[in-house]
């Protein structure tokens, strides 16, 4: 045993040395850059994924099946992944929830994206990505997942493309053959516009523990919600035992806000787990002021108002700071406050301690400030 261990260590050492030497021979690139010429999925200098299939879920939502490179780490059902997408030559980064189960046999994963009005990136993914494209990806992240061991009984409340994390969880539970008693309330425009509609209905027929309540919110031909709004009465009707369940919710800010209020009034806040698609911004007080923003390491100084997030401010000033989700969940955009004052747009909280971590994508100037960037 010990011998085998030291053998492995020696092997690891030799492997490391060899790859170091290979990198020296490839300098100033790395050996992995040459490996990329053969297959972009074998690289170690960055992680990429290949589009292997696309499938329309609804008229404006599409599922993209991606085959990740060798250094991928399996996600937990409900997590999201950062993806880089070039559009008109420019590189954008966005975060999407993984809609497949980690247990998939082929090692691929899927994201399901809805083209939102005016959304350049989502539109590009839904309409222009094609099989064979390679995209840089990051490893899965996020804390929206079911506990591994403790036996909870989930109540999923999802709307529109907010179905994606719940779908991943359902698929995962089913493939592990441990689907517990589950209630699922899903809001979608109409019966033909339900992402994964067929599959959800299938699951409902095949699994007696799974209760699906579809709430249709649009009349045919209408593109605005006219009915089916969430209410406590509706919740009681579809899920009388909701106070005994753990709720996993994902959808637009209005729905999530209503849920938060309901659960708080019932003293059940701890059992409400939320995944947001858009950062939920508090109102910026009328007397808030912007100020001069200084980006210390780039030596750039610009004026900013009290509402524009600092990531955007930096980008408009020609900088290219790291970022991912642009909605306050991935922390890729973190930097430190050197001096001055910023406002967290979600909570309205003011950060003014030098050294505080600032998530630039959800913070705006509150007076003059200086950031590490």
């Amino acid at each position: 045993m010990l011998q085998q261990q030291s053998g492995n260590a020696a092997l690891g050492f030799v492997k490391n040395q060899l790859s170091n030497i290979a990198d020296m021979m490839a300098y100033p690139l790395r050996a992995s850059h040459y490996v990329e010429l053969v297959n972009p999925l074998w690289t170690t200098h960055k992680l990429q994924a290949k589009v292997v299939a696309v499938w329309d879920e609804t008229k404006d939502a599409r599922t993209i099946t991606l085959q990740p490179g060798g250094h991928w780490r399996l996600p937990r059902a409900g997590q999201h992944v950062r993806i880089g997408i070039p559009i008109k030559g420019k590189h954008y980064t966005r975060t999407y929830t993984i809609s497949s189960a980690p247990e998939r046999d082929d090692g691929c994963f899927t994201i399901t994206v809805k083209a939102i009005a005016g959304g350049r990136v989502s539109h590009h993914i839904v309409r222009n990505l094609k099989v064979g494209d390679h995209l840089p990806i990051a490893i899965p992240q996020g804390d929206f997942y079911l506990p591994d061991a403790s036996p909870i009984q989930p109540l999923f409340i999802t709307a529109g493309s907010g179905i994606t994390p719940a779908m991943s969880m359902l698929r995962s539970l089913i493939s592990q053959q441990r689907l517990p008693s589950t209630v699922h309330i899903h809001y979608a425009p109409h019966e033909f516009d339900v992402i994964f509609g067929q599959e959800l209905r299938q699951i409902a027929t095949n699994h007696q523990h799974y209760q699906l309540h579809e709430v249709h919110t649009h009349e045919f031909g209408d593109d605005k919600q006219t009915k089916g709004y969430f209410s406590l009465e509706q919740l009681e009707r579809y899920c009388p035992d909701w106070k005994e369940r753990d709720c996993y919710a994902c959808g637009p800010p209005g729905l999530l806000a209503a849920l938060e209020k309901t659960f708080e009034q019932a003293g059940r806040s701890r059992h409400l787990h939320i995944e947001r698609f858009l950062a939920d911004f508090a109102e910026v007080p009328a007397d808030a002021v912007g100020g001069k923003v200084r980006f210390a390491s780039s030596g750039v100084e610009v004026d900013a108002d009290s509402e524009t997030n600092l990531l955007r401010v930096a980008e408009d000033a020609g900088l290219n700071p790291p970022h991912g989700c642009r909605m306050g969940i991935c922390h890729t955009c973190n930097t430190t406050l050197k001096s001055g004052c910023v406002r967290d747009l979600r909570s309205g909280e003011i950060l003014n301690e030098a050294g505080a971590i600032v998530q630039t994508c959800v913070c705006a100037a509150a007076g003059d400030c200086e950031l590490e960037l």
Partner: protein, 395 residues
Amino acid sequence: MATAKPLPVNLTDDQIDEFGREMEAIYDEAMASRGDRDRAYILKLMKTQRSMAFIGRMIIYASLFLLPTWPHALASWGATLLVAGIGVLMLGIAKILENMEIAHNVLHAQWDWMKDPDIQSNTWEWDSMSPADRWMHSHNVVHHTWTNVVGKDLDVGYGIMRVTPMQPWHPKYLLQPVYFVILMLFFEEGVALHEQALVDYFEGKKKPKDLGRILRHVGRKAWRQIRKDYLLWPAAGALVAAVINLFIPYPPLTVFLAVMAANAAANIVRNIWAFIIIFCGHFPDGVYAFTPDQIEGESKGQWYLRQLLGSANINGGRLFHILSGNLSHQIEHHLFPDLCSNHYPVVAPRVQALAARYGVPYNKASIWRQFGTTWKNNLRLALPGGKLPPAVATA
């Protein structure tokens, strides 16, 4: 605004301002037109370059199986040299593409607009002994700001040569035809040592300690280049040779030296080519040099004008332009240093027409004329005197 001493043109300041605005419009349009095609271009170029570098090295290895020690019929020095020559040429071209059309332009921030984290000027390192950050300073900042200003732009004669009669003659210039050839052969090393810091040191403006820090930085980079081309690639070949040597006589040392020589040859191929293209950019007949008082208080229009008068283009086809890193469009590169280089051929006719309308010369000729006059000037200016371009530049 007027500079202390006017530029050598027959234009009023207002006319120069208008000239500048027109130039700016060409630039803005070109910048706005960047897109998918440009991204595809640079990615494809990088792929081609990397493949060529790898294949070139493999062909060099392959040539070693033709060494006369092999018992087969094809084995001979002639065959070895022929195949090795092909490998050397391929590797040399790969290095040319890497240095010129890729790295030079990436380091000019021409591709930063893509926001691709892998292709950014502030993280890119290139296949050259000069560390990218030092080079960006001496090139982007010093040379591109002070273009052809005698006493300010280090690239005017590279500190060792007299390339314009405006530089006072000194006996050390008698030997400049020799420096010319040496710099051509060892251009990579020359660029690495091409440092404002060195000049400052010799002029007593920099302390030995600070200079030491910079030299160590350059040394680290140079060592990595040497380790790759003159140690590891030859050693990998020698290792295989040592194994083969167990069966048939195949001296590892010969193999080591052969690979080393081939890599040196590839580096020299790159050096000569880069030197020729770059020297054609600023030193042929008809290119203007300037004095510091000509650029004091310079307006945007005057800046454009100086860049135009101080640079020269080389005629050629598409492949030639790519191989020269589009520095054959030196004029456009100096006017728009951060526009991606594949747009230079597109804007060149517009720049040329603009120059013609304002009666300003646009220096463009064959490589023979441009390099020929560069060489001729080098010989002539080794001696005192020399001929300045016309006092008033006209097309």
